[in-house]
């Protein structure tokens, strides 16, 4: 204001120009540098502050909204191992191998390694988490004698029980198919930190996000080449580039990158930046999946947690950053080794490792872990669990939120089930060449469901012989006639009226079904006896007496029983119901048999156990749940009859196939041999097997010749994980000696007599008499 006033006054004529002459030249010739500079400075500062705040906001927003897309991971159950278990050293080694443990030549073991010394197997178990517990890495010794674990010892003496880590079954990738295991910088091997810093940015802890020396060097190289040939990026700049920018090499992008790196340097500590970098960095491809981050790379290439990497492994991974696929230890081990040695050299030069360490590491060959997940991760089971997860979470959450999904699958049993189906079907095709079909769509198929009855845990599931050829899960979707495999539940429904020694007629009877005549026949239709006991009828799977029993019991009562045992498919009260002329799935049948095995308490079948968030919060938990659907006494009585099926009934050939432990079971064969079933159980597991053609063509196989042979293969393989015991006699059961000929209570005059179980409130009342000739059927 004062300047303006001065100007006006000085413009008037007649006034002394003194001061005016002095000031005018200044106004005309002088440029307002100071003002402009000040303005420029203000604008620059404001712009810088604005840019800083904008970049800061962008970075914060990006990191706050979602740092990384981490696919959810599905795991099997942990597997308990204890002294006294009938596991040989070979079997334990195999269990370790499918969990990606590696044999070490030295006695100094890293987590994930094992060594053998005589009858002792030493393992350094990896750290792992189950749904409810964390298990630290620990060194243990397994001692063996005659294919049995005689002891397990650790640093604190005897170990009564050990849990082997679960197996990763699958990851639920998003559209980008990125695989990543997030790591915490505090858990990263110091070797890896030093290796990455040495090769990528050795002044990382000194600069503020950008390295002027590095930029100058890169600029000089770029100017000489006339184009951008060298980056000179710090780790922070690389993180910015990988996370926010395009990979194009332009000066503009470099400038933005540098600005953002500077801002980031003010926002995060060096260790935080390094952790983000190690989680983000691209580390190559595994099939169609992109490996991101050092956690995933360590697991993928070396089968190790990132905390357990050795010096040479750490240097290998650090060396891969510049060209993950070119320097891949899988695809180009020679280049990988050269690059690793360069990293080691840098580490040595910067004083991160000693000369001795350098020499040792350089001499190491490139060794990678065996192919991950050899069991191809139980694909049918995985599909089954995924369908349940889809009802709980949207796809976006499953693909990006890094959920840990724990299931009930027992991996060793799953392997046994898959092998039993594969080898069993191949053997049947070899034995009966008519079963062999060249068209993969028409091949003989099989399905198996394995359940632990006491908990309802589905331990294994196979939905077909080859998932790659057919992903149709027959175990849960194939609705097939069960044939005689359904009979035990009819006999159970009849126990209020019949005892195991009650007589049933065994002569063809014609029934009137909706105006049509129907005459059921036994499998061997030439053999009929005037009468047979209930026990004999079930053990030998006789149709005629069974229909008679069902009609006498009442078809509606039988349907109600089947419903209580978990059969959900449509059922009609017609006489053929008694012979299993309706559809069930193998899973439903396994449910029903598990109830029988579990003393009449129906277990809720579990496959999905727990879902735990990335932060460790349990989001879903399924507990063991039982519902009583019949009395323990009735369930036991049917089990006792089904033991007879295996001892001297339709399943008697199983004893020639290695089945010499207490078990019960029932064969099932449908009209024209279209379906071959076997449902068998011990005190600790139920396995149901179906064999047939998808197009319902006859197989010519009975339950005993087809499904039972696969069942036997499976049971022989899983013996180390089961402890078949005699079935426990529950309250409400009594035993009487019975005269075989009459089915009456035995006396001393009876020639052939055997003990027989009965319901306590339903016991025969008449004694055998040698003079008796008019025995009344009961």
């Amino acid at each position: 204001m004062s300047t303006k006033r001065t100007s006006k006054s000085t413009g008037k004529p007649g006034r002394k120009p003194g001061p005016k002459h002095k000031s005018e030249p200044k106004r005309k010739t002088g440029f307002p540098w100071r003002t402009l500079s000040a303005m420029f400075l203000v604008v620059f500062v404001l712009f810088s502050i604005g840019l800083f705040l904008y970049i800061k906001h962008e970075i914060e927003h990006r990191f706050a909204s979602h740092k990384w897309s981490v696919p959810s991971t599905m795991y099997s159950a942990t597997v308990p191992i204890y002294p006294g278990q009938a596991l040989s050293m070979d079997q334990v080694e195999r269990m370790l191998a499918i969990r990606r443990y590696q044999e070490s030549a030295t006695q100094t073991l890293k987590p994930g390694e094992f060594s053998v010394n005589g009858n002792t197997l030493q393992v350094n178990l990896r750290k792992f988490h189950s749904s409810s517990q964390s298990f630290p890495a620990r060194l243990v010794q397994f001692h063996f004698e005659q294919d049995t674990i005689t002891g397990i010892t650790g640093s604190q003496g005897n170990v009564p029980l050990l849990e082997l880590n679960p197996i990763e079954l699958t990851r639920m990738y998003g559209p980008k198919r990125q695989s990543r295991i997030l790591i915490n910088i505090n858990n990263v091997s110091p070797y890896l930190i030093n290796a990455v810093i040495s090769i990528e940015d050795h002044l990382f802890y000194q600069h503020a996000g950008i390295s002027l020396r590095g930029i100058a060097r890169a600029l000089w190289a770029d100017l000489r080449a006339g184009r951008v040939v060298e980056g000179g990026s710090t780790i922070t700049q690389q993180l910015v580039k990988n996370y926010f920018l395009t990979p194009q090499r332009t000066f503009k992008r470099k400038a933005i990158e540098a600005c953002m790196a500077l801002v980031m340097g003010t926002m995060y500590s060096k260790n935080e930046i390094l952790e983000m970098y190690m989680n983000e960095v691209y580390m190559g491809q595994h099939g169609g999946v992109a490996i991101h981050g050092m956690g995933e790379a360590a697991r993928s290439y070396f089968g190790r947690n990132v905390s357990d990497l050795s010096l040479d492994q750490a240097a290998t991974l650090a060396g891969m950053i510049v060209g993950p696929n070119y320097y891949s230890p899988v695809h180009n081990p020679s280049a990988c080794k050269d690059r690793r040695n360069v990293v080691l050299q840098h580490m040595h030069e910067y004083g991160k490792i000693t000369a001795a360490e350098y020499q040792l590491a350089v001499a190491e060959p490139i060794r990678i872990a065996k192919n991950p997940l050899p069991i191809k991760s139980a694909p049918y089971f995985v599909d089954y669990v995924k369908t349940q997860l889809q009802n709980l979470y949207p796809p976006r959450v499953l693909q990006a939120d890094g959920l840990n999904i724990y299931t009930t699958l027992q991996p060793d049993m799953q392997l046994a089930a898959q092998e039993a189906i594969k080898n069993g079907l191949a053997h049947l095709e070899e034995q009966y060449p008519r079963l062999k079909k060249n068209d993969p769509d028409k091949q003989l198929q099989a399905a198996m469901v394995v359940v632990q009855p006491a908990t309802g845990a589905i331990l294994a599931m196979v939905g077909g012989r080859n998932y790659a050829q057919s992903s149709y899960n027959r175990a849960i979707y194939a609705v097939r006639q069960p044939g005689s495999a359904i009979k035990p539940f009819e006999y159970l429904a009849a126990l209020d009226k019949f005892t195991p020694v009650s007589w049933l007629p065994d002569e063809p009877i014609t029934y009137d079904v909706a105006g049509q005549h129907w005459t059921p026949r036994n499998y061997d239709s030439n053999e009929y006896q005037p009468r047979v006991t209930v026990r004999h009828a079930l053990e030998h799977s006789l149709n005629v007496p069974t229909v008679s029993l069902a009609m006498s019991t009442g078809l509606n009562k039988i349907i109600a029983t089947l419903r209580r045992f978990g059969i959900k498919t449509p059922l009609e009260p017609v006489p053929s119901l008694a012979l299993g002329a309706f559809g069930v799935t193998p899973l439903q049948l396994a449910d029903a048999y598990a109830t029988l095995d579990n003393g009449g308490q129906r277990p809720f079948l579990l496959s999905l156990k727990d879902v735990v968030s990335a932060s460790g919060q349990v989001e879903q938990r399924r507990n063991v749940n039982l519902v009583s659907v019949t009395t323990p006494a009735k369930a036991f009585l049917i089990t006792d009859l089904l033991e007879g099926v295996i001892k001297h009934g339709t399943g008697r050939n199983l004893k020639y196939q290695g089945i010499d432990f207490p078990c019960a079971g029932k064969t099932g064969t449908t009209n024209d041999w279209r379906d071959s079933w076997f449902a068998g159980y011990t005190t600790d597991l139920v396995a149901v097997v179906w064999v047939g053609f998808d197009n319902n063509q006859p197989t010519g196989l009975t339950g005993a010749r087809g499904a039972a042979t696969i069942w036997a293969r499976f049971m022989n393989r899983v013996q180390p994980w089961i402890n078949p015991q005699p079935f426990k006699v529950p309250p409400g059961i009594v035993q009487r000696y019975i005269c075989d000929d009459s089915g009456e209570l035995a006396t001393s005059s009876c020639q052939d007599r055997h003990p027989q179980y009965f319901l306590a409130d339903h016991v025969p009342t008449q004694y055998y008499s040698s003079e008796s000739d008019d025995i009344v059927p009961r």
């Binding site: 204890y82 002294p83 039982l626 005699p726 426990k728 000696y737 001393s748 007599r753």
Partner: protein, 200 residues
Amino acid sequence: MAATDHPRSLQQPLQVWLALLMMVGALAACAPTTPVQIPPAWQSSPKSAAAAPSQKPRQILKPAPKITEQNIPAQTPSQTTSSGQPPAAVSSPPQQLASMQLVGEAQAAMSQGHIDEAINTLEQAIQVDVYNGQAFYDLALAWQSKGSQTNALQFANKAEVLFQNHPAKLKQLYLLKAQLYQALGDTAKAQAYRQKAARF
């Protein structure tokens, strides 16, 4: 005399001790080598069996002594050592020892109020040994403390089958079932189980 008196005075306690030792030895020899079985509730044999006249008079022979009617047969050793026993038993099957280890962990968790953790561990214990009655019993307790009487009752039912040869445990179990039925409003069953428990 004095010389003979002295040994005599020594001999008397010696004889007493020898007699006592022999008695103890005899008692030990008579003791059962396997755990004593407590038979389940007596199931009376059908009175009508022998008494009821058949349509045609015939001679009813008395059962020979060795094949007299019997109730639940003697258990096999594996059954008698069901998992209700303490884990220290030398003859315990390995899976039982391992399973009881988990039961111990679960009991510790329960005592600290970590019921969910205890339930998880007990479910594992059952996986290792399906005949671990103690695990089922503790599961019943855990679910009871979570307020789910129905669930608790199911596990108690399972434990009841497995505790058949363990009267002390069976008594505890009957009392628990009485509580559960009471909580479920079934006073008649609650009373019945209290009476069953009182028999021990």
